[in-house]
């Protein structure tokens, strides 16, 4: 089975079970290597359907303060692209079976060598790629390599995307489309944007791919609200924030359960 097929299987299963996918993000190497492995394994045991694993970059221009700090910490501890792939292999060996989508800015991939990165990532157990500063216009080489290796290429759409761009970007996406809920950078927010449902509907008119919504989702009620309108619920900053500090693992587990419950039982959690 290719990585893309594994991702597709997750969304098929969720649809069959009448629920959305819970898709946690974690910044690889934060707070340290050992805890990264523990956090991802814990989330895999309490309802994660698919992981986004963040490869740290020195200049994360689409990220807010929480993920900036986390990836900076990871870099300061010497986390490299190779380390991130090694952690993926280790997680696979530990029995973590959910698909991994690697999220990286383009320069670390470009410096590694696009083709070689895609091959090594696929061999390590990565199933798809999300590169937030690489629009399809510039992604020819990456897409070709991903097709060859069977990896999904997931692009982002934003509330500012025009109908024309929605069509164009969707036509380059495989696996699912990542909808950025807000016009902004990553970070937990207290409210979901009021026009989110309208944005999701606007994208859906142009594609049959599963839609996953991320940016700003911080609690079970928000996860449930998103699960009512989309196939996937992506949570990054809130979990990364919980991961810092002494009892990080316990806090990630508690928040992870709440988020998974929200994503999996949209009507049982939060106001409709």
């Amino acid at each position: 089975m290719t990585g893309l097929e594994r991702i597709e299987a997750v969304f098929r299963r969720c649809r069959a079970e009448g629920r959305a996918a819970f898709m946690p993000y974690h910044a690889m190497g934060y707070p340290d290597r050992q805890k990264t492995l523990q956090i991802i394994r814990t989330l895999s045991e309490i309802g994660a359907d698919l992981f986004e694993i963040g490869i740290p970059h020195s200049d994360p221009l689409a990220d807010g303060p929480t993920i900036q700090t986390a990836t900076y910490t990871a870099l300061m501890q010497g986390t490299t692209v190779k380390d991130c792939l090694a952690m993926v292999r280790e997680l696979r060996a530990m029995g973590v079976a959910q698909p991994f989508c690697a999220m990286s800015y383009y320069n670390p991939i470009f410096a590694y060598g696009v083709e070689r990165f895609v091959e090594d990532a696929a061999a390590a157990g990565v199933d798809g790629l999300i590169v937030p500063d690489l629009p399809p216009e510039e992604a020819g080489e990456l897409e070709a390599a991903c097709r060859q290796a069977g990896l999904a290429t997931i692009y982002l759409l934003a509330p500012t995307s025009t109908e024309e761009r929605i069509r164009y970007v969707a036509s380059h996406c495989t696996g699912f489309i990542y909808l950025v809920s807000v016009t902004g950078i990553t970070g937990a927010r207290s409210e979901l944007p009021p026009d989110l449902a309208e944005f999701v509907a606007r994208v859906r008119r142009h594609t049959d791919l599963p839609l996953a919504v991320g940016f700003g989702i911080a609690n079970g009620a928000q996860a449930a609200a998103v699960a009512r309108i989309a196939e996937g619920v992506i949570v990054g900053s809130a979990l990364v924030k919980a991961a810092g500090g002494e009892d990080g693992l316990a806090r990630v587990a508690a928040l992870g359960r709440e988020l998974a419950h929200g994503a999996h039982h949209p009507r049982a959690n939060g106001a409709s």
Partner: protein, 415 residues
């Protein structure tokens, strides 16, 4: 009106960028999806304005009556005598309003936003503070809300400019991430833009970033080269002929591309960019993207593909220069392409050489250059002895040195 010399250039150097914003393998658009529609809009609006006579007439009027253009061309008699070689002329961007060339682009983009876009707010980044001051100035004059991001290291070394921006009504936001210099200010300005893109224009200050910025900034800065070309050819204002070499400092590369561009077709005119050699290339403490084969490689930073100082893992290297305006890990994509084409060449001057440049120009010509521009002056020490008495060098003096007095006093000590 002096007629322009006929060219024999076989390459049309003005054929780039292509439609997707590429200069050969460089340039392009590497930004989050949220910004893609804004870049498309900016390109569309800019292309219209470029051919809009009314817009161009208003810009031209403001350049004359507000900026003080054309800036003079000065014959550097004592500097010429000092080297005993080629005649040296100086294009005086230090005499433009706000003290540097940055106003040419800041005013152009601010006017573009005011007249052609449904936006009410400007964000900008600044390194030395010159672009920030220029943007704050244009925003004040046109009545636009303005926020400037600046690394806290740069705020400390360019303190007068911070006050100047605030006096002009801009909000200056300190950036404490990364190296706390220009690169980090750009990250933060982009994050603000991503968040507020519906009402905000990002007024990028150098020939960098995603398409169409490198082209827009180049076009607005090309006024330097167009004037210099006329002034050189006119015996009333210059030597009455083209120079044999043009020297300009290169951070992002906006003053250099501005003075180079109108001369590209005259292939016998050498075009020399001077990067910041910092404390020397070997230790890695510099901002010389073309000079360090170990750190300077093709990469993507802040929206564009170009030469980038980076480690083996693609993490952006920390840079150093005595001049905040050259202290940046990447370089404008058109410079990388013109270098590949063999049309431009790049060298570097160290911190110490730049300080010597400050001293030379101050004492011999009565002009205190900005530390950035002093890198171009410093290169004369190497270039002039290689050239003959009947040759001519044009130096683009991108800015004046008042803002750097604190740094210069610390470095040169009691005089």
């Amino acid at each position: 009106m002096t007629s322009l010399p006929v060219t024999q250039s076989k390459v049309n150097y003005t054929a780039w960028p292509d439609e997707a914003g590429h200069f050969g393998p460089y340039g392009g658009k590497f930004v989050p999806e949220t910004l893609m529609p804004a870049l498309d809009e900016l390109e569309e609006v800019y292309l219209k304005a470029k051919h809009d006579k009314e817009f161009q007439a208003e810009l031209d009027h403001l350049l004359r009556t507000f900026v003080g253009r054309p800036t003079p061309l000065t014959y550097a008699r004592r500097l010429t005598e000092y080297f005993g070689g080629p005649r040296i002329y100086i294009k005086r961007e230090d005499l433009a309003h706000t003290g540097a060339h940055k106003i040419n682009n800041a005013l152009g983009q601010a006017l573009l936003m005011k007249r052609k876009m449904q936006k009410t707010r400007i964000v900008a980044e600044t390194g030395a503070g010159q672009h920030g001051v220029a943007t704050a100035t244009a925003a004040a004059m046109l009545g636009i809300e303005c926020v400037v991001y600046m690394g806290t290291v740069d705020m400390a070394r360019q303190e007068p400019n911070v006050y100047r921006m605030r006096l002009l009504g801009a909000e200056v936001r300190g950036v404490d991430s990364g190296s706390k210099t220009l690169k980090d200010a750009i990250n933060e300005a982009i994050r603000d833009w991503v968040t507020n893109v519906r009402n905000t224009h990002y007024l990028l200050g150098s020939a960098l970033g995603p398409h169409p910025y490198p082209t827009i900034v180049r076009d607005f800065q090309s006024v330097i080269g167009r004037e210099a070309l006329r002034q050189m050819l006119d015996p009333e204002t210059g030597p009455g002929r083209l120079p044999d070499a043009i020297v300009a400092c290169v951070g992002g590369g906006s003053n250099a591309i501005g003075v180079f561009h109108p001369f590209l077709e005259y292939e016998h005119v050498r075009l020399i960019g001077v990067e910041a050699g910092g404390r020397g290339i070997e230790g890695g403490e510099h901002a010389a993207r073309f000079a360090d084969p170990k750190l300077g490689r093709l990469g993507v930073l802040q929206g564009t593909k170009s030469y980038v100082l980076q480690d083996e893992d693609g993490q952006i290297a920390l840079t150093h220069s005595i001049s905040a305006g050259l202290d940046y890990a990447s370089v404008g994509p058109e410079h990388a392409w013109l270098r590949d084409l063999g049309r431009t060449e790049y060298t570097y001057a160290t911190d110490d050489e730049a300080l010597e440049g400050v001293r030379l120009l101050s004492r011999l010509e009565g002009i205190i250059p900005a530390l950035e521009s002093a890198h171009a002056v410093a290169h004369l020490v190497k270039l002039a002895p290689q050239m003959s008495k009947d040759e001519i060098i044009l130096v683009n003096l991108s800015g004046r040195g008042d803002k750097d007095l604190g740094t210069i006093m610390k470095e040169l000590g009691a005089l």
